[in-house]
Amino acid sequence: MVIEISCEEVWREVSNYLDDEITPELRARMREHFKGCKHCTAVLDGTRNVVRLVGDAKAFVLPAGFSDRLYQKLDRKLSKDGPS
């Protein structure tokens, strides 16, 4: 029998739940809560989706031409002076 947990407590721990930074006991309580609470399940699923999306290498790309512009500047600098 797991002790009930409130929605507020679940929101506080949802990020730690995803990172597995909670005790097995708390994990069991949260899992039980998610079974009966669609709002908290929505928060959990959405947060997990966010973590996956921002962690995707395609999510944040360098602006087009970033490297070209960088190395042009660098070449100009190199032709003038070296590291001090």
Partner: protein, 257 residues
């Protein structure tokens, strides 16, 4: 190579081996004897963070082979840009600051002590550059005004929306619209929440590594991460009902209160 991967790839080097190499660099770069002594002392008790390849490239640059600097910087470009973009919302400003930081790193390469990874050092310069730019533009107020999420009596962030999302598939990242939405959502975070999310979730550092890099405790990382993730979710919610994958624009917010 993606920079997150590159940064993670900069694994710890054995302490003894690292300190030998660090001393070698200190000698070859003509750093004063006192610096050499400090380096040895510092490294005796800690792990040198510098990779052999990095060291070799640094030595080459300092030895006059300036083109080696490109090789040194290339794997870190994305991390540097992410660091400046995390502070400056405007893409052009972020690019300016990133490039300025890389040029400064080149000029000051001889000052790099090897007590952190090269990428960490570079990202730190980039962060400072971006903060200086931010101060110049007096944007602090704007960031503060964005920090107005709903909080409960204990000051905890409360999710704004409880609609059940259809999962956004990774393929949706091919649409510019979603990438833009992610950038805007990221930009809506305060700098201290953004930097934690970028290190942990974008660059995939562990909570401990994130804490070390930022010089804060693990519990502070966790608190900020929670806030950042929930706020990102709320910021992206209007597209989470499936419109990112189906193109539908209608969205019904669900709030239980």
């Amino acid at each position: 190579m993606g920079c997150g991967a590159c940064l993670q790839g900069f694994g710890a080097v054995e302490a003894a081996r690292g300190s030998e190499m660090m001393s070698a660099v200190a000698v070859r770069t003509g750093l004063p004897g006192t610096s050499l002594r400090v380096d040895k002392e510092t490294l005796a008790g800690t792990k040198s963070q510098v990779e052999p390849l990095e060291l070799e490239l640094i030595e080459r640059v300092l030895g006059g082979q300036h083109e080696a600097f490109r090789e040194l910087v290339r794997p870190c470009e994305r991390a540097v840009f992410m660091a400046t973009q995390a502070i400056l919302k405007n893409e052009a400003d972020a690019e300016d600051a990133a490039q300025e930081a890389i040029l400064k790193a080149f000029t000051n390469l001889a000052k790099f002590r090897g007590d952190s990874k090269f990428s960490t050092w570079l990202v730190r310069i980039a962060t400072n550059e971006a903060l200086m730019k931010l101060r110049k533009e007096r944007r602090h107020k704007l960031h503060d005004s964005l920090d107005d999420g709903r909080k409960d009596d204990n000051g905890n962030y409360v999710p704004q929306d409880f609609a059940d999302w259809r999962e956004i598939p990774s393929e949706a990242l091919q649409t510019k619209e979603l990438r833009q939405a992610l950038s805007w959502a990221l930009a809506s975070l305060t700098p201290k929440h953004r930097e934690v999310l970028v290190l942990r979730d974008v660059q995939h550092f562990t909570i401990e590594e994130t804490a070390t890099r930022l010089g804060i405790g693990k519990s502070a990382v966790k608190t900020r991460l929670l806030r950042a993730r929930l706020q990102m979710r709320d910021a992206l919610a209007p597209g989470m009902d499936g419109s990112w994958s189906t193109g539908r624009r209608e969205y019904k917010q669900v709030r239980p209160w």
